[in-house]
Assembly symmetry: C2
Homo-oligomer: 338 residues x 2
């Protein structure tokens, strides 16, 4: 299968490393031989229809700052849209940074990939909170696969679990601890009885929280993921503007202590139902599978037949995310038999 | 899709009820119209190629003790093997009781279904711990689907999660709380500091433990499920005789208390690795996703890319199991496009 990678930051490079590490495994187990025929970043692209060297892509990108400097096959200034349109390939991986307002540049990349008849795998939440239903319908109409497992839960296959493995159930609600940074902060606040500001600073120093922590601590990242889960699993047509998230800045150690004495822990939870989306701090009983610690993510589905199922794992990190990207690729390979 | 149900006890009747309840849902969502053309139990069978009434099957079975008394289409003494061989159908549900020594009668039913070109969905652990690889190879050779999600975890799609959604990963180990009865007993022993015998008797009175609790409390049921997980997910060829299970009879409340003081809980765990299968009581850190309470089941996969993922839910009960049976049916429908 011929792949195009759009975006070669942490996630793109993580995928390249996973393809190097798991190449033989995938070939032997699934008779799938992925060949990366083009990679584009913000400075340009590298294109070779016979397949680029993943090792060389990583080296050039890390040493010279762009895949455009790939020897012989690099091309400065070549745009991602041109690459998607012009290069013959089976699957486009859209791995550029998330923009939750416009969805760009990912939105245009995905549309171009679909209209040029290529399957799409993305980790990019932007296009999914801006135009989920439009993209899903476009892909169905054009007869290509559109996969986005990596956009929610990192390595935790939340969407596939609901879509594929709980197929006989009517899902009433989805509740999730969807943001590892805030879960880490709340866990530290609980274990050390420390105030939010102190723990946030510590998390920033450790690289767990960003310098501008707004997207995480104000619940916006959780809101994005809640919107995606609702669209993908409950079949609704929601956008980020349909949620009014409440974050964790106002939570005091005393509140956490009182909750704990009553047998609860406080988590930042996204709740998706067919007719409502909510994001905010919620009490979760200690011992409930959703009461996970540290940077873990967890999602609970409430259903008619299976009642309640929870899945837990590591949401973040390029290596963890490559697990979801590779699984989407293998699943496309199985579905289309290429 | 034309279905044959072999076995019409709790699980078979549970599936019939789920098909009644979810018939419209499945038709609308998956364009799948299941029609039960034959049902067999130990006294006989009911056969109608135009489709039997599920309501009538339930009524006849509950009031008269066998589907053989289904008006006009019932037939006393008709054997399951005859039904599987003679009736034209797409899928056979093998739902007879588990026999872990011979695998019978399920083993013969499944072989007959495969050789007569029918897909198989089963909840029966017997054939899977006696002849997993043989059956899997037979099905592949004959070009039919062989599904057994319901045999481990009840409603919790443990096998599908590993086979389908973690496909890019090399799975190193599978650890599971796989038996709800023992987990209930250990939970009560921990919460009430009560001895094993007392809690077992209470569980028997509540119907959570069987009168003869050997299969559960001596770890044999957990061993069966561990064998199935190893075969289905790690690709090995193991049988029940490859495990020497240790049960929970010897666990004293003092041991549980000491574990708890050190931050652990004691669970009956099945561990499957490529080169070893173990079943016995193990310490699990409190707060780990595997440390689930009551009758919950939980399975943790340890992998290269996604590191660690845990799935949790209700393992037992005919309604929960019908969730797995229906999901297998829908997945076969998707795979073969019938």
């Amino acid at each position: 299968m011929r792949l195009i990678l759009i975006g070669f930051g942490n996630l793109g490079r993580g995928l390249a490393r996973a393809l190097i590490e798991k190449g033989n495994f995938i070939r032997e187990k699934y008779s799938l031989a992925p060949s990366v025929v083009a990679v584009a970043d913000e400075h340009g692209a590298a294109i070779d229809v016979r397949g680029l060297s993943l090792e060389k892509l990583l080296e050039v990108s890390e040493k010279k700052g762009s895949v455009a400097y790939y020897p012989s096959f690099g091309s400065e200034g070549k745009s991602s849209l041109e690459v998607i349109e012009e290069v013959d390939a089976d699957v486009v991986f859209e791995l550029t940074p998330t923009n939750i307002v416009s969805g760009e540049p990912g939105l245009s990349h995905i549309k171009k990939a679909i209209t040029s008849g290529k399957h799409v795998v993305t980790s990019n939440k932007g296009p999914l909170v801006v135009a989920f239903r439009e993209l899903d319908n476009m892909a169905k109409k054009r007869g290509v696969q559109f996969r986005y497992s990596a956009s929610v839960g990192g390595s935790v296959p939340v969407i596939g679990l609901a879509q594929r493995l709980l197929a006989g159930n009517t899902i009433y609600s989805i509740r999730g601890v969807l943001n590892g940074t805030t879960n880490y902060i709340l866990t530290r606040m609980e274990k050390e009885a420390a105030p939010f500001d102190v723990v946030l600073r510590e998390a920033q120093e450790m690289g767990i929280a960003e310098k501008d922590p707004t997207l995480d601590v104000d619940g916006i990242d959780t809101a994005c993921k809640t919107v995606i889960l609702a669209n993908a699993i409950l079949g609704v047509d929601k956008k980020l503007s349909d949620v009014s998230p409440v974050g964790i800045r106002q939570i005091r150690p005393e509140a956490i202590r009182l909750a704990r004495e009553a047998g609860y822990t406080i988590k930042l939870i996204g709740v998706a139902k067919r007719d409502s989306l909510e994001v905010g701090p919620r009490l979760v009983p200690i011992g409930h599978p959703l009461a996970v610690w540290g940077t873990l993510n967890a999602v609970t589905f409430e259903m008619d037949l299976a009642r309640e199922i929870t899945i837990t794992g590591f949401g973040a990190g390029p290596r963890e995310t490559s697990s979801a990207l590779l699984s989407d690729l293998i699943d496309i390979h199985r579905s289309v038999g290429e």
